[in-house]
């Protein structure tokens, strides 16, 4: 079981579903959320400068693509830069409702994205991910 995962999505119902489904399965102890890319980056920035010895780093990120203020792609461009080296070893799973083939093509260019899944999040999806990430 993972220690902590991060869900980034502007839709509160998606976040609520994530929390509920993940907490029902033995996937992660803790789920933290962000409503867009900027909020997620802010979380990492805060984490970087905190002195808390027990600070937890997200081990997996569920990322939506279409979000206001800062979308998924922009977030990834920042997150994969050296400024976030401390955190960007965590794999990213895109969780979106998009059908645009261009998004799928774009995702292939980011090695950090290990999967591209269609909403909604389900128990089966988590089982599949467990096998894939192997924990």
């Amino acid at each position: 079981m993972l220690e902590q995962i991060l869900c980034i999505d502007d839709d509160p119902i998606t976040l609520m579903l994530c929390k509920k489904v993940i907490s029902k399965s033995s996937f992660s102890h803790e789920i933290i959320t962000a409503q867009n890319g900027e909020e997620a980056l802010h979380h990492f920035n805060t984490l970087k400068y905190t002195n808390d010895k027990n600070k937890r780093k997200p081990e997996l990120i569920f990322l939506d693509l279409n979000m206001p203020i800062m979308g998924g792609w922009e977030f990834l461009d920042h997150f994969t830069s050296s400024a976030y080296n401390e955190f960007n070893s965590a794999p990213v799973i895109v969780l979106s409702s998009t059908i645009d083939p261009e998004d799928l093509e774009k995702a292939k260019k980011y090695p950090i994205i290990i999967d591209f899944l269609s909403k909604p999040i389900t128990q089966q999806m988590l089982e599949y991910l467990k096998k894939k990430i192997d924990f």
Partner: protein, 569 residues
């Protein structure tokens, strides 16, 4: 000669007789008989001497004359011989057919040419002028003979005419006949010698050129011929323009010949294209340009302009031929087309984006609904009414989800007409399809016959073929007859280079007489079934066509349906 000899002999005889008579008279009158024999002897001797002298004088004179005549004759003979030899040489050397016509006797002689050129055997060749005239083409013979006889009447020396002369094989040759008339001292035409030249090739070439010229004069394209070079490096001077050119440019040929083709240049002419043209002229290469050019009245028009260099046998350029086509309308259409394509492309892009956004915006809340309904499954609900409502909710949501997923598939197919192909095992495809439909198969237990042994492998797109077969199988189950057990037979075989997959069921069928045009259409439903979306067959057809195949349907109401899918394999 004879008369002269007779004359001399006669005069001599008369003189000698007179002399003999006079001498006899004188002797008998003045001398005695005793003196007579001596005197007679003297007289005879002197007579013989005188005649001998006269003879020697005449003979000497004659001999002189004879030598001169003989020499003259000899010379003439030599000349005739030489002339005959020359004639023989010329007659042999020339390819012409030579004839010699003695007009008064009407006898005509032909040289070897009549055999070698016209193919007649020596025994076939007639000896009169009739034979000659008979061989002349009926359309030419009257004109030719009138011309010939009027020439003979006029008694000028040289005659020539063109006509068609029949060969031994019945074909005609165009000939040029030139004759020379000989007259006697009284000026009567007695003989004519002529030479017939075979000009069939020239004539045919002439006719061919005439035909080609017609192409140039009748052409709707402008044709312009210029000199080979221009001293100032500009476009060379024009030597010929066809009528189409005058019509296109407004310049009459007499106004334009001798001028440089540069006059068509104007403010809107494409200078890059003109540079290309000048470069081609410099390099003596063919070239094709498109530019705006100007008529005499300074009206602009678009022209497609080609320049072709013409070389002589020594590979030296002699002329340029330019063919020009007015492409103003074509250019206008092209611009309109480009504009339309741009507009359509933009519209298409906008629509595509719109469909992506719409489907995303539909899918996002729908996925939430499904997620939320999934959550309720784990919560025990005691209120039966609520349970019923939730079941309906779940069913509707899943149907909505399926519809949207199908629509998304359609959008993706339409957006990506090309797709990857791989070698696919039909057995594996069916295993996947059956596992997806395991619930329905378990429920209705159809009898399914598969026959793939003739075509176990198919080069195609795996996802598409799976989707196609899934849709067809779902349809068969959905539209099965309530009166009999569902039977499905699926076969695959290879015919030539085509793979044919046949899908047959004994379901309720479709009334094709009413619906043939609509079967594969979008949102077409033929049965009043609550979960029929009118998308399945549209999707199947789209996928088959994307893979370069075709699909055909045969169906009879209450008997069943057969789908035949054909792919290039």
């Amino acid at each position: 000669m004879k008369s002269k000899t007779l004359q001399i002999t006669l005069i001599y005889t008369i003189i000698t007789i007179i002399m003999a008579v006079i001498c006899h008279q004188l002797l008998t009158t003045y001398f005695s008989l005793s003196q007579y024999p001596t005197l007679s002897l003297l007289k005879d001797i002197s007579f013989i001497l005188i005649t001998g002298l006269i003879f020697s004088f005449i003979l000497a004179k004659n001999e002189k004359k004879n030598i001169t005549i003989f020499e003259k004759l000899n010379k003439t003979n030599e000349e005739i011989k030489e002339s005959n030899e020359k004639y023989d040489i010329v007659a042999k050397a020339t390819s012409d057919t030579i004839w010699d016509w003695k007009i008064q006797e009407d006898s005509i002689n032909w040289n070897k040419g009549i055999e070698s050129v016209f193919g007649y055997n020596p025994q076939e060749v007639g000896k009169t002028s009739k034979w000659w005239f008979d061989k002349i083409h009926p359309e030419d013979s009257i004109r030719m003979s009138i011309k010939l006889y009027s020439f003979i009447e006029q008694k000028t020396q040289n005659w020539q005419d063109q006509y068609r002369f029949r060969c031994a094989d019945g074909t005609y040759k165009y000939v040029l006949d030139r004759g020379f008339l000989l007259k006697d001292e009284k000026g009567r035409a007695i003989r004519m010698i002529g030479a017939i030249q075979d000009i069939t090739k020239q004539k045919e070439e002439e006719q061919r050129l005439k035909l080609l010229e017609t192409v140039i004069t009748q052409s709707k394209d402008s044709i312009l011929i210029t000199e080979a070079n221009s001293p100032d490096g500009k476009i060379p001077k024009i030597v010929y323009v066809n009528p189409a050119f005058s019509q296109m440019s407004g310049y009459q040929s007499n106004e334009i010949i001798g001028k440089s083709a540069n006059i068509f240049k104007g403010p809107k002419s494409d200078s890059e294209e003109l540079k290309k043209l000048l470069k081609a002229i410099k390099n003596e290469e063919e070239c094709l340009i498109e530019t705006i050019t100007y008529t005499k009245n300074k009206e602009e028009y678009w022209v497609r302009f080609s320049m072709i260099p013409i070389f002589n046998n020594e590979e030296v350029i002699t002329h340029w031929i330019s063919i020009q086509r007015d492409i103003t309308d074509e250019k206008k259409l092209e611009t309109e087309k480009e504009h339309l394509i741009r507009e359509l492309t933009q519209n298409n892009k906008d629509l595509k984006q719109f469909s992506y956004i719409t489907s995303h915006n539909l899918r996002a809340p729908l996925s939430n609904l499904i997620g939320l309904l999934n959550l309720t499954e784990d919560i025990p609900i005691e209120n039966e009414e609520l349970q019923e409502i939730l079941t309906g909710f779940t069913k509707s949501t899943h149907l909505l989800n399926e519809t949207i997923n199908d629509l998304v598939k359609v959008i993706i197919i339409k957006d990506n007409p090309s797709m990857q192909k791989e070698e696919v095992s039909l057995k594996e495809v069916f295993e996947n399809v059956f596992s997806q439909l395991s619930f329905q198969i378990e429920l209705h237990k159809p009898i399914i016959k598969l026959k793939f042994d003739k075509l176990p492998q198919l080069v195609t797109n795996k996802a598409y073929i799976e989707s196609i077969l899934l849709n067809l199988l779902t349809n068969s189950i959905k539209y099965k007859s309530e009166n009999r057990k569902l039977k499905i037979a699926i076969t695959a075989e290879q015919v030539d280079n085509k793979a044919i997959v046949t899908f047959k069921d004994n379901g309720i069928g479709i009334d094709l007489e009413r619906n043939r045009d609509k079967v594969f259409g979008l949102y077409q439903r033929f049965h009043n079934y609550p979960d029929s979306k009118g998308l399945g067959l549209y999707l199947v057809k789209s996928q088959v066509e994307t893979m370069g195949g075709t699909i055909a349907i045969e169906s009879e109401v209450n008997k069943g349906t057969i789908f035949t899918i054909t792919f290039k394999n």
